[in-house]
Symmetry: C2
């Protein structure tokens, strides 16, 4: 979907102050309220904005340790492995990838010791041949979208 400069400013504003209302947003952007509403509707209809789900911090829930695990899967076991991983609450995200290793998942745990339990649960399943884990130490760039939005907005394509 093509995003114009106003969409970009709207998304940036929403990212900075999520609790802002449509009316207040229209004031900040110096456009009519209906315009902001129409843009929001369009962005949501086109899937650019998936939703406004609460941004929950696993660390604040008692899971301060994050890790990425690369898994190697036996041929034909993909579907079973996916279902298994989806059933583990500490698996926050799962991707199938190219290259060595067939899946990449993001894990959280209560401590480094607890991570061992999580990994055991994750890899203790037929079809997972091998796993290599990298523990996250710092997160210099937390998941962000604003720079990309601004680049997309400036590229009238």
């Amino acid at each position: 979907m093509k995003i114009d400069e106003l969409d970009g400013r709207l998304l940036t504003l929403l990212a900075a102050e999520p609790r802002i209302g449509v009316l207040e947003a229209s004031r900040r952007l110096a456009v009519a309220r209906g315009t902001v509403q129409a843009r929001l509707d369009r962005l949501q209809t086109n899937g650019v904005i998936r939703g406004f789900g609460p941004d929950v911090d696993p660390a604040a829930l008692g899971y301060p340790v994050t890790a990425f695990a690369t898994l190697e899967i036996s041929q034909g076991q993909g579907a079973d492995v996916r279902a298994h991983l989806a059933s583990v609450p500490e698996v926050l995200e799962l991707h199938t990838i190219t290259g060595h290793g067939d899946m990449l998942c993001r894990l959280v745990a209560r401590s480094n010791a607890d991570l061992q339990r999580v990994i055991d649960r994750v890899v203790g399943f037929d079809g997972i041949v091998r796993a290599s884990t990298a523990i996250v130490m710092e997160n210099p760039v937390p998941l962000r979208i604003v720079p990309l939005v601004q680049q997309a907005a400036s590229q009238r394509e």
Copy 2:
């Protein structure tokens, strides 16, 4: 922070229907309006809920390709490399990790061909010794938090 069963139900409800109001939420949870407001305040004060930022889909913005790159960094160049990566809009996330490779970043691109441009920009920097990239094919488990929340809520600790 300790989460009880009501917090868990509230977070689950918010994740399912983010645009819900405090009043409507209190009806669904069958508790008083003030209770929901107090819980929300507490969850936000304690950092469990970071915010309600818009959930933007990079694919809908024209960046349907996702990849993870593992970077090996020269000693003492960490800070410079971080600043460089933070300046690239297509870098959505950056972690420093243990093990072989020193950083892991999530990238998006307009196409597989465009990914080459992004990778060139990412690794074309003094201090980055080596990079290995895995392209994401499928995403069987998109970033999620509800299962973890429910586990945390059921573990009265």
